[in-house]
């Protein structure tokens, strides 16, 4: 079928199939990627993360511990129009003392909730990005459906570059997540007359709470 036909044409173009020794070299290259040029960055990764994220209009706030999460979310809700509408919380953050009278959705994202609270796997200082990993405790839809995306990021999880995140995932002993979302700003588009509009389809605001550090 298609597979064999395409591979045959490729091998014909390349002058033959990959030999066993070359295949071994290529496999080794995948396990240990060769050094490549990377952007230089100096100093504290947390400070660099905050500077880059802020430049991308991500709001960053520091809290000492998860005990401060509920008050932080509360003040975000009071500042906006969303307090009565209920929020979505990733199951990973279920046990941080949410008030009993809040209408909280712990399931997949829905259109009704305007604010979600999720937990990041890592942060990237180079671009001020957060890395979200899909899992039953951290559903991907919560990153995209609400208007306001609140992200808990542990200061110790902030790494210099994406390559460091991949290294951490490779060596974690866990399976690759089904979905990894690297988020570097609010949803935006310039498809109407080149004017930047926020949001397009996803959140209009991203609010990162850096915990500890």
């Amino acid at each position: 079928m298609g597979r064999e036909a395409i591979l045959r044409r490729i091998r014909l173009a390349l002058g033959g199939a990959t030999g066993a020794d070359v295949a071994a070299q290529l496999s080794a290259r995948m396990l240990h990627p060769p050094p490549a040029p990377v952007p230089q960055g100096e100093g504290d990764v947390v400070a660099r993360f905050i500077a880059r994220a802020s430049a991308n209009l991500i709001a960053v706030e520091r809290i000492a511990s998860l005990a401060q999460l509920v008050p932080a979310v509360q003040s975000l809700l009071e500042g906006g129009e969303d307090d009565a509408r209920g929020i979505s919380v990733a199951p990973a953050l279920r046990h941080v003392g949410w008030p009993a009278d809040w209408a909280i959705n712990y399931g997949p994202g829905r259109i009704v909730e305007r604010l979600s609270v999720t937990e990041a796997f890592a942060g990237i200082a180079e671009t001020g990005s957060i890395v979200m990993r899909s899992a039953p405790e951290t559903p991907t839809s919560l990153n995209f459906l609400p208007d306001v995306h609140v992200v808990v990021l542990h200061a110790g999880d902030i790494l210099a570059r994406p390559e460091d995140v991949w290294h951490r995932m490779r060596t974690s002993g866990e399976a690759w997540p089904r979905t990894v979302n690297v988020i570097s700003g609010a949803s935006r588009t310039a498809d109407v007359g080149g004017v930047i509009v926020r949001p397009a389809h996803g959140p209009k605001r991203v609010h990162v709470l850096v915990v500890g550090g």
Partner: protein, 473 residues
């Protein structure tokens, strides 16, 4: 030969006379070019990274069978299905069959140039399926019944006013009665209409900026988040991608992404970079139940064999379009091709055949800006020159053009005769043009003089002037 329809020349003339189009594409010159220049200036490692990016792509292409097989094995290990399509028709058939098995009535699509290339929308619509483009730009051109005119900014040919008129006409059905006043309101309508579609979709189709052999991830880059809602909320996720999209590792993808976002938009990173691997897993409370990848060849394995292999490095950033004086003058639709601009002028004859894209390699001044800005150093002008030569060899260039080029080639390869003739022409031209210093009309060159005057020669040839100058030293 193009059997029907206007020629590139006719389409270009129409585009040049279209004031609204000229206003719309005029913004590209300032916006994209300046943004890219700033991003490159802010990033000292850019040149070193371009070279590394070129090397990654060359390495992958030289071992393409190995990396594709590894990629496919990883996707399958994670519960996904990989389909291999030799051409556009086979690719469409595979997607149609997946949709039929899923009983699909509504399909959402993230931006995918490969799906444009294979004509997927028409194929699905013929089966009675509603296909909804979810990238705001793609949605707008779909609503207008047009094709994208740029591979990154599909709507670059449309003004906000035109889009407001379009929505006033087409969004009444969704309850929007008033004409939107600005870009924010227009995008607000797109958001509202598409929210429902994401949830209603049976199948979500996205493209891929990269396919990672290491772990089977498909990578998509967006600023809107539409790709993620398309892939995450539908019951079935289909990825369509060219076979050249594979890279060995996530590290390789990260390096190429640094080049892509800067070259395409002048950004350090887009809002969303998403890596998806397979369907939902045990315990997952969401995610697609099925995950399919359709790997599309469609002429690419033939390119691998010959001198056009460097074109397979292309990461679709569109920097070559944004810096092309021809593209910036006439816009994307004048090319009448899925991929316009310099990269399209090379790619279209390769994937569609010279017959369908005969004129494109000639829609170029060989000024070389495209090669200067290409993040993976594709020698676009060389490839375009080679395509012209191939067309000549294959007999596609006919009539006066063939006769004229043959005569020129005969003369240009006889230097002594050429110099003698050039001396006569320079002397005669200098004499005839001595009063005005330029010609308003020249026989056999009306194509030039219609648009501007031809400066008169100074009476002597460059060679003679050069020799004289050296004597003086």
């Amino acid at each position: 030969m193009r059997a029907v329809g206007p020629s590139f020349g006719e389409r270009a003339a129409k585009a040049l006379a279209d004031a609204s189009l000229q206003r719309a594409i005029g913004d590209l010159k300032g916006g994209f070019v300046a943004a890219r220049a700033r991003a490159v200036a802010d990033f000292p490692a850019f040149e070193e990274m371009r070279e590394a990016g070129r090397a990654i792509k060359d390495h992958t292409l030289a071992n393409l069978d190995f990396y594709l097989e590894r990629y496919a094995a990883e996707v399958e290990r994670h519960g996904g299905h990989v389909h291999w399509a030799s051409d556009a028709e086979e690719a469409c058939r595979i997607v149609r069959e997946i949709c039929a098995r899923a009983g699909a009535r509504t399909v959402t699509k993230g931006k995918s140039m490969v799906s444009e290339e294979i004509g997927l929308n028409a194929a699905l619509e013929a089966d009675g399926i509603e296909v909804v483009e979810t990238d705001a730009g793609e949605y707008i051109v779909q609503l207008a019944g047009e094709a994208p005119s740029h591979i990154v900014m599909p709507t670059v040919h449309k003004t906000a006013d035109e889009i407001a008129d379009l929505f006033l006409d087409r969004h009444r059905a969704h309850g929007f009665e008033a004409r939107a006043r600005d870009a924010a309101e227009l995008i607000g309508q797109v958001r509202a209409v598409l929210r429902g579609k994401y949830f209603a979709a049976d199948v979500g189709i996205t493209g891929a900026n990269f396919l990672v052999a290491e772990n089977g991830a498909g990578v998509i880059v967006t600023n809107e988040g539409n790709g993620d809602l398309t892939s995450g909320l539908a019951r079935v996720h289909i990825v369509t991608a060219g076979i050249e999209k594979v890279v060995p590792t996530l590290d390789d993808a990260s390096l190429l992404l640094r080049l892509l976002t800067r070259s395409a938009l002048g950004m350090e990173a887009t809002s969303y970079t998403t890596y998806s691997i397979g369907p939902r897993r045990d315990g997952d409370i969401e995610g697609p139940e099925e995950y399919h990848v359709v790997l599309v060849d469609n002429g690419r394995s033939d390119m691998l064999a010959g001198p056009y292999r460097p074109m397979l490095r292309c990461i679709r950033c569109a920097a070559c379009l944004n810096h092309c004086p021809v593209y910036l003058a006439v816009g994307g639709h004048a090319y009448d091709a899925v991929y316009p601009g310099p990269m399209g002028a090379v790619l279209m004859p390769m994937i569609g055949g010279h017959e369908k894209a005969e004129e494109l390699p000639h829609a170029c001044t060989l000024n070389g800006r495209c090669e200067q800005v290409c993040p993976v150093k594709i020698p676009l002008p060389d490839l375009l020159r080679r395509l012209r030569h191939d067309q000549w060899e294959a007999g596609f260039i006919r009539g006066t053009a063939r006769w004229g080029i043959a005569a020129w080639s005969w003369l240009a390869t006889r230097p002594a005769l050429y110099h003698r003739l050039a001396r006569v022409v320079a002397a005669a031209g200098g004499y005839l043009g001595r009063s005005r210093g330029r010609f308003r009309y020249l026989p056999l060159a009306s194509g030039w003089t219609e648009g501007r005057d031809m400066p008169a020669p100074q009476g002597t040839t460059f060679q003679a002037a050069w020799a004289k100058r050296r004597e003086r030293r």
